[in-house]
Symmetry: C2
Subunit: 259 residues, 2 copies
């Protein structure tokens, strides 16, 4: 589905499934919404942990529109993801298709870059991305690499893993390094034990993928990291996109590239 | 020694030793000089093998000055390397401090990028470069990766190896990828057997360096590749810089960076 159609259906609550592969070329983002008195620490957390939490946009308190992510119209964080999770005190409380009824005048919205953008660049460069070719979710692992703490926010880096031949791994590093706003270059390559991962066939989230003997696992910081940090901090209320059902924006992946 | 002093001493034949670490910030280059009837194939060889043979400049036939590599004065390939090797029919015939007496009006000079430039960028970024810290030459290996052939020129890629922690390896790939004119990103990481290297402690050229258990060997294409191709092609005459005694240019490493 192309961008205008997808945005229209999401806004009408007619599109309620994962957004992977939809609106090719357009940036999709992780969404975190917090009350203003929690937002300052979360903003600091993102800024000192840019690999897992690359900030694409932050709203003013009470402002649900993100003009930086729109071209013709601003992105409305209340309606522009297919579905939302509402957490209370760090526990999932319910799921909604939009959050117009829940909006508070002290809410601050954070749009955080998502690996879909650099994956598109990898595919365009002809690199085989295993989980895409296997038609499943990217495998994600809770590593032993700590984030830098800010107030109540901290915890480990969650990482995604994509296996590549050595030559393709180098190429994938080159390409993703040009996209610092969507996790940028990997944070680890090679031996998973080095970062506290015991078994690549048992991801903490997502699906296991095949890895050939001659391939090297390549690990990128993942946008689930700030979600885990938020859950552990237990804010009285927090709203995020439903996993996989990303905030769809009107800017293109191309605009995020350094080159 | 800074650049003007080094250039002056080299031109006066007062500086006749390796140039590593001298004139920091300035580009040093591999030099290959061939008669015009061999130069066309060699030029094609460089252009289809840009990783081992990144061309910085090529002279017109009979022209010993490379204006592209000079700012105030052009580089004179007859005098601007500390020492030269003269090969006849692929055999080292003699060594000279300059080649003014040997210059022919059909000679074509090729200045080929050298890893000194990206090594400087790695050091500036705070990455530890093992052979520099151990005070020896970089280890070089004849790999089983073939070059693409052009006329009589072909043969295997020679590679340099630098060991890094996984995180520093990623950073080294990011940095060197911004310097395509001086070998660019690596061509292999990880298992040396994958590219036909049996023992990292027995380099074909240069010196062995320590590798820690948690480190990954990273392999870059090397400027010795075109020299080996030239030797195997056995041109009636070929002149190169003496190994380690590079052609010193007046352009800065900074100007070679993509960013």
């Amino acid at each position: 589905m192309d961008f205008p159609q997808l945005q229209e259906q999401i806004r009408a609550n007619d599109y309620v499934i994962p957004t992977a592969g939809q609106a090719p070329g357009y940036v999709q983002a992780n969404l975190v919404i917090l009350p203003a008195d929690w937002a300052h620490d979360f903003l600091r957390f993102c800024q000192i942990n840019p690999k897992p939490c690359p900030l694409l946009a932050v709203s003013e308190p009470g402002q649900p529109l993100l003009s930086d992510l729109g071209v013709e119209t601003a992105v409305d964080v209340r309606t522009d993801a297919p579905a939302y999770y509402i957490y209370r005190d760090g526990q999932l409380a319910r799921e909604q298709l939009d959050i117009r009824d829940l909006w508070q005048d002290d809410f601050v919205a954070f749009a955080i870059g998502c690996s879909f953008s650099f994956e598109e660049a990898l595919v365009m460069a002809g690199l085989p991305v295993r989980h895409l070719n296997q038609g499943c979710n990217v495998p994600m692992f809770i590593s032993n690499i700590p984030t830098r703490e800010a107030g109540p926010f901290g915890g480990p880096h969650v990482v995604t893993m994509r296996p590549f031949s050595p030559r393709n791994a180098i190429h994938a590093i080159e390409i993703s390094s040009r996209y610092p706003k969507v996790h940028g270059a990997p944070i680890h390559i090679g031996d998973p034990k080095h970062i506290g991962i015991k078994d690549l066939q048992k991801p903490d989230f997502g699906d296991a993928v095949n890895i050939n003997d001659s391939e090297i696992p390549v690990f990128w910081a993942c946008g689930v990291t700030p979600q885990m940090a938020m859950l552990a901090a237990k804010p009285p209320i927090c709203i995020t996109h439903k996993p996989g059902c990303m905030l769809v924006t009107e800017i293109t992946n191309q605009t995020l590239s350094l080159s």
